[in-house]
């Protein structure tokens, strides 16, 4: 185990944690790029210059595509609640635990960390990324989180392949770079053009709410009251620097007219207005 391998594995874990917990789009994309760049280095022997350059370009291109998709829509990247659902400290602990478990897999339980090699570090990093990415993919709070989870999951799979199969051939490295770019392009196209996405909810942008109709505009709502929903409005509150949340809710639909709320229509036993839903 060389310092370079150790640093690369640490960079993968830190990048993954940053990607799934950061509030700022720049940090999210930076974490993603960090994980994608450091991942291919976790092999022994190190890849030659050509495949390494291909991996670097692919990681930067993937980060650029993610940045293009999310730079103007920070709310879509972070969802209704900026940051991780369980906080960055638990996420970090989870990732480190998974990393340690991955390191110790296949070793003598009495000396789990003896003779660690590149494959062990890659396995640990892959498990850490898997633990971080899978919840984002399956129950992500926003389209941006889901997209970041998709890319991290692909990176985790490539790391797992390195852990199991050793150093890839140059052709395989090139194809892996192609896979990263294809996944990032697909994610960017889907995310960059999707309106605020809530997996369990609606798929249309909420109607704008007239500020004068909101008597509590700019006032922090009391917790655990119905008015709390008004804080999740499409427009930023007066004097607030927080990014607007594009996720629609029933309150905003109700203000804009009942016909626009497909869930309300369904619960009332009527056929939802497909045109409005679109």
């Amino acid at each position: 185990m060389t310092p370079l391998l150790l640093a690369a594995s640490g960079a993968v874990v830190v990048g993954g944690v940053l990607c799934v917990t950061a509030r700022d789009v720049r940090l999210i994309v930076s974490g993603l790029v960090l994980a994608l760049i450091a991942g291919p280095l976790l092999v022994d022997p190190l890849p030659t210059a050509g495949p390494m350059a291909a991996g670097l370009v692919a990681a930067l291109l993937a980060g650029d595509l993610a940045w293009l998709a999310l730079r103007d829509r920070p709310a879509a990247a972070t969802g209704a609640r900026p940051g991780a659902r369980i906080g960055w400290v638990p996420e970090m602990l989870l990732a480190v635990t998974a990393f340690v478990v991955g390191l110790s897999l296949g070793h003598d339980p009495g000396a789990p960390f003896s003779g660690l090699g590149a494959g062990d570090l890659a396995r640990g990093a892959a498990l850490a990324l898997l633990v971080l990415a899978l919840p984002q993919v399956l129950v992500g709070a926003s389209s941006g989180r889901i997209g970041a989870g998709v890319l991290l999951l692909v990176a985790a799979a490539l790391l797992g392949r390195g852990a199991l199969g050793g150093s890839p051939s140059p052709l395989e490295s090139l194809v892996a770079a192609l896979l990263e770019v294809a996944a990032a392009g697909s994610v960017a196209v889907v995310l960059g053009l999707a309106p605020g996405h809530r997996p369990e909810g609606h798929r249309i942008a909420p109607p704008a709410v007239d500020p004068p109709s909101r008597p509590n505009a700019g006032v922090a709502p009391a917790p655990f009251t119905r008015d709390r929903r008004s804080a999740r409005d499409t427009r930023p509150s007066a004097g607030s620097d927080r990014a607007p949340d594009p996720l629609p809710d029933r309150t905003s639909y109700r203000r804009a007219g009942r016909a626009a709320d497909p869930l309300a229509e369904r619960s009332a036993g009527r056929k939802p207005n497909r045109a409005a839903e679109r």
């Binding site: 989870g149 998709v150 199969g165 051939s169 052709l171 395989e172 090139l174 192609l178 697909s186 679109r278």
Partner: protein, 610 residues
């Protein structure tokens, strides 16, 4: 011609088409030219000569060329079908289409990005089916899958389907992670899982599960059904047929090369996979038979057909290589043809509900012929290559009564198609009466309609085709959600042919029944300032008018082309059987058909049973 040229041309054309997305017309034009160029390059590909790329030998086989040519040609026809049934590519028209249940909007949503997605899919497929390294082939197959969601057509503000597209992304990511890890385990058998029968079985189930996910087999059929429910059917063939086919071929090669060497029976794991395949075949066919929407019917029929692919994956000792490749080719073609058929019928009649489609064969006999041809190609008749392939797949995987049940159950899909035809031969519904028939008509410029600019046409009311004058009763049109002040009043019992004859405004130019077409674009006049560009614009307007006035026959002709491709493949023309069973100059991923050196890159060691 070689792999590098083909893949570079595909990716370059896709990138150019995507870069030009601000102009739908330009993007689609570049995409169509790219598809045509890729088709010609595939035809010119000499797959018998191995080459060296990135220090490795790569080469194809006759099946690779057959796969690429058929896939590109089918996608080209599907794209043209989308162009035919779609309104002009303006944002306003897209919004108008999206606000209705008209298929025109459905076509447009997936249309602009469809050629780009197809080019990336087939470019990646060429890499996957050419390289020697199993992992490189697998990664290329996974990359092909990630390109398919581009065909959802999210390139504009009116595209409303992020939930489906993100669901597809989730599906692809999970399947990719599973199949990469499982295949790595099988290929490398590294510690700590190496040599463990449980780990090998888990890896086999993982590969099969990833194929399940990608094909949209039951219980993951939402991947297939959801896009069709929301009318993005243009992306479906790429997403659930062409891209997964590449993954299946690579997975079969890896499983067929690796698992027999381990001499593990894996009976329980195989039983699980076979049971899931049988459920997909039986349930898919049964559910398709009770659907009242043609898009749903097509979706569940595809789910049923995908079960046979799973049978091929479950049979690895030895794998039914030739039969599986024949079936995979026919599966891709019939899926594309079925999707195109549903889109064309929806565009012709204006509805996808069976209630509204009563008597549809009278309006679209071409589509009826196409449906029969697709059914024959899909289910097969004795003597056809596809019939033998189905029988061999079932026979190798399932023996005894269960095999017979699956064989018979697979033909339950006939009930769904027979129901469609039965409805089609019934008394015509109001929507069918209001629809246009299959005859080719000459477009006539309506003098009292305002003339608009060629570059930016007016918003299209109710998503209708701009060059299409709606005919039929006001009640029938109202049922279809269309109100047109120019629509002619008719009786429900009269055919539109009789209507056209009696209506003086619809007969012109020699007394032939003609379709009245509003002038949606200005034709440049002849004169001293006439330029080549103006002439091109004039030709384009004329073509657009002709196509707009003949949507139904044009769509039927394209679907007939797709059906013809399917039938030819089912018949085994040209040389499908030989190509499917052919050896490769360079063995693919340890392909079991590669003769003397079947496992060049896989180092699996047999393990003793514990």
């Amino acid at each position: 011609m070689n792999l590098v040229v083909f893949a570079t041309a595909c990716f370059l054309a896709a990138a150019l088409s995507l870069a030009a997305r601000r102009s739908d017309r330009l993007s689609v034009t570049i995409g169509l030219i790219g598809l045509l160029a890729a088709l010609l390059l595939a035809l010119a590909w000499d797959t018998s000569t191995p080459q060296r790329v990135a220090q490795e030998s790569v080469g194809g086989d006759p099946f690779l060329r057959l796969f690429l040519v058929n896939g590109l040609l089918a996608t080209l026809l599907l794209t043209l079908l989308g162009v035919t049934v779609s309104p002009p590519s303006s944002a306003a028209a897209a919004e108008a289409s999206a606000a209705t249940d008209r298929p025109a909007g459905a076509g447009l949503r997936g249309l602009v990005e469809l050629p780009s997605a197809a080019l990336i899919v087939f470019g990646s497929a060429a890499i996957a089916l050419s390289v020697t390294s199993p992992m490189a082939a697998l990664l290329a197959a996974v990359a092909a899958g990630f390109a398919a969601p581009l065909g959802f057509g999210l390139g504009r503000a009116s595209a409303p389907l992020p939930r489906i597209a993100i669901g597809a992304l989730r599906n692809l990511a999970v399947a990719a992670a599973i199949v990469i890890i499982a295949t790595s385990t099988l290929v490398a058998m590294a510690d700590p899982l190496g040599g463990e029968p449980f780990a090998v079985g888990l890896a086999f189930v993982g590969v099969a599960g990833a194929v399940f996910l990608r094909l949209g087999s039951i219980p993951f059929h939402r991947l297939v059904v959801a896009p069709t429910v929301n009318g993005v059917s243009l992306a479906v063939p790429l997403l659930i047929a062409w891209a997964p086919i590449v993954l299946v071929i690579v997975a079969m090669a890896v499983l067929g090369a690796g698992l027999p060497a381990l001499e593990l029976p894996l009976s329980m794991e195989r039983s699980v996979v076979l049971a899931a395949a049988a459920i997909s075949i039986l349930l898919g066919a049964a559910v398709a038979a009770v659907q009242d929407d043609i898009h749903h019917l097509v979706a569940y029929s595809v789910v049923a057909q995908s079960g046979f692919v799973l049978l091929a994956v479950a049979t690895f000792d030895p794998p039914p290589w030739a039969a599986a490749r024949v079936w995979l080719l026919v599966f891709g073609l019939t899926t594309t043809a079925l999707v195109g058929w549903a889109l064309a019928l929806h565009a012709t009649i204006g509805s996808a509900r069976l209630d509204d489609l009563a008597g549809w064969t009278r309006r679209s006999p071409g589509l009826a012929v196409a449906l029969v041809a697709i059914v024959v190609a899909s289910l097969g008749l004795p003597g056809l290559a596809v019939f033998d392939a189905r029988r061999e797949l079932v026979g190798d995987a399932l023996a005894g009564p269960l095999g017979s049940v699956v064989v018979i159950g697979g033909y339950v899909a006939v009930v769904a198609y027979a129901r469609l035809l039965w409805v089609g031969f019934g008394a015509p519904s109001a929507a069918v009466i209001a629809a246009r028939d299959w005859r080719v008509r000459r477009p006539v410029v309506e003098p009292d309609r305002p003339v608009a600019s060629a570059s930016a046409g007016p918003p299209i009311a109710a998503g209708s085709n701009p060059n299409r004058r709606l005919t039929g009763s006001p009640a029938g049109l109202a049922d279809r959600g269309i109100t047109s002040p120019g629509a002619r009043s008719t009786d429900l019992g009269r055919s539109s042919r009789a209507i056209s004859r009696r209506d003086p405004t619809s007969t012109a130019r020699g007394g032939r029944a003609s379709e009245t077409a509003p002038a949606t674009a200005a034709i440049p006049t002849r004169g001293p300032d006439r330029s080549a560009r103006a002439e091109l614009a004039r030709i384009e307007v004329i073509i657009r008018r002709w196509v707009g006035a003949n949507v139904a026959p044009a769509a039927a002709a394209l679907v007939l082309g797709l059906a013809l491709l399917s039938v030819l493949a089912a018949l085994g023309i040209p040389n499908v059987r030989q190509a499917a069973a052919a050896d490769r100059p360079v063995p693919l991923a340890g392909s079991p058909i590669s003769g003397s050196n079947p496992l060049p890159s896989i180092s699996l060691q047999p393990v003793a049973s514990p």
